[in-house]
Point group: C2
Chain length 320, copies 2
């Protein structure tokens, strides 16, 4: 089995690569080739036959070159994050929309080729007003450019799946928490920061009030979603291939309470409250929770509370 | 006021051009320049200062050249019709998606420029299962590539409107009936053909059963929608700029009854029933009717029955 990962140099891409290499197989079939692509070539892993490439997917010829070797499974993770897509309109559309359409059009142009296509969409396809628990039939209603670009990608994944040109699925990933490493340009960065920094003895800035609620899953769950989506029978999804995923609905207060349970009351003293109206305006429009029945019935699983999310971070990033 | 029309050589584009030239103004402001664009340059009308250009919008530099003169109002009609977009995937995405995104990105790249942008979307953004009367909050659920491409365009019109880069509106045009002239490649062509051909003493093929119901408006109403959309205050729409429009919900039987009332029983003898499973499968997924409350409240108006639609055809195409 040949697997292609775009955006393989990103946080999820690297963890997905590690998980695939550790298993050496996907859905019971050995991995015979692993192609990793990003704007700069990711490191080549040891353990499976792998190649790493530098490519800009928004250039159509780059997308074409990638699919000419006809990978069986394509994980399309390459994206500009929400904050950057809002700040730089042209870059966001180039990567998030045209990078996706170029890849899908290159696949469609091949004959007798129908790869499994796993597209990382986002809960940012939903904008207010939203119910507390968003049902599976909630229509996308993005209020950010990032969300609009992901919703457009979902439509094309649906269309090409309907036409039998891909066997596609769009995963509306929850906000990933706790992201390891440095903050990125996502507007959601503080949700991880207020746990990650104190767990590592450092100060963190909290720009929103304690009652703000949002939807989370760990990096480990995100990798689990991707691997699961690459293996299962997608026929039960019918023509609607975009899936909201399980996660934890938690407020800032829930996060801080779990932090205190995990690291003691001193950890809370590392939180510096600096209200930021711009950030608040963005996150106030975001989903607070989901009722992801379709994903649950297909066997997708995530953490059940913030304590578990913190425990996963400690196991995976802090050596347990 | 400078007005740009893409797809100006098409049936609606030509009628819109005629209507604008006849009025010489839009929303009370004189038309000082009219730029008409299509793959082959449309005829230059007499009466207002006008220019006609041949351009392929899916080439980004073409889109850029068009908006450099900063038209105040842009009617974006250029599109590949449903049947052709389904038959030729690459062409459909090139024109219907990339032609639209290139134009919008070229606008967004200009400084201090926020034109009125009227995008012709389609009721094809909706696919079954659908209620008999589709409400304004019905989520797009396309089951054709044409519908997917139009739904993607709507998302980008919403996004750029939200960002203040355009003052945009997407009009989900009903199926236009009675289209004058020769059949085009739209799968919906027969809906016009079974009226137009007998009204002109010719045979017409009917590929679907009499109880199939669909949603119609005349070419005159379509031009009225476009002109109205270019003039009204769009602020009441908020961030959701896609609008389902008024029309006539009618079955094939309703069409034929109106034909008989207009042209007598002999006209019905010109209908040749040739059931076509492929056509039936396509149109069976299409909308049967709408409850277009938002459009009605904004003052959009269409015909109220098939008799009126036939009367409009006779007035506009047969000299009354």
């Amino acid at each position: 089995m040949h697997i292609l990962i775009t955006g393989a140099g990103g946080m999820i891409g690297r963890k997905l690569t590690d998980a695939l290499v550790a298993k050496g197989a996907l859905g019971g079939t050995d991995i015979t080739a692993l192609t990793l692509v990003d704007l700069t070539a990711p490191p080549v892993p040891v353990g499976v036959p792998a190649a790493a490439l530098a490519a800009d997917l928004s250039a159509p010829e780059a997308a074409q070159a990638l699919v000419e070797s006809r990978p069986d499974v394509i994980f399309h993770l390459a994206a500009i994050v929400s904050g950057e897509a809002e700040a730089d309109l042209a870059k966001g559309y180039a990567v998030n929309l045209h990078g996706t359409t170029a890849l899908l059009e290159a696949i469609a142009a091949q004959r007798d080729y129908r790869p499994r296509f796993v597209f990382t969409s986002s809960i940012a396809v939903f904008g207010s007003p939203l119910p507390d628990r968003i049902p599976d039939d909630q229509p996308p209603s993005p209020l950010t450019s990032y969300g609009a670009q992901k919703a457009m990608g979902e439509l094309m994944v649906d269309d090409l799946s309907r036409r039998g040109l891909i066997d596609g699925i769009s995963l509306r990933l929850p906000t990933i928490c706790i992201r390891p490493g440095k903050p990125n340009k996502a507007a959601s960065g503080f949700y991880s920061g207020i746990l990650r920094e104190p767990l590592n003895g450092q100060e963190a800035v909290l720009p929103v009030p304690d009652d703000i609620r949002h939807w989370f899953a760990s990096p480990r769950s995100a990798v689990g979603f991707l691997m699961h989506a690459a293996q299962i029978d997608l026929a039960p999804l019918g023509p609607r291939r975009a899936l909201s995923l399980p996660g934890v609905s938690a407020t800032i207060a829930d996060e801080l309470a779990a932090l205190e349970r995990a690291a003691g009351p001193d950890a809370l003293k590392l939180i510096r409250r600096e209200p930021d109206e711009t950030v608040l305006r963005i996150v106030a429009d975001w989903p607070r929770g989901f009722a992801p029945e379709r994903a649950l019935s297909l066997g997708f699983r995530a953490e059940t509370d913030m304590d578990e999310i913190i425990a996963v971070y400690r196991e995976d990033e802090m050596g347990g």
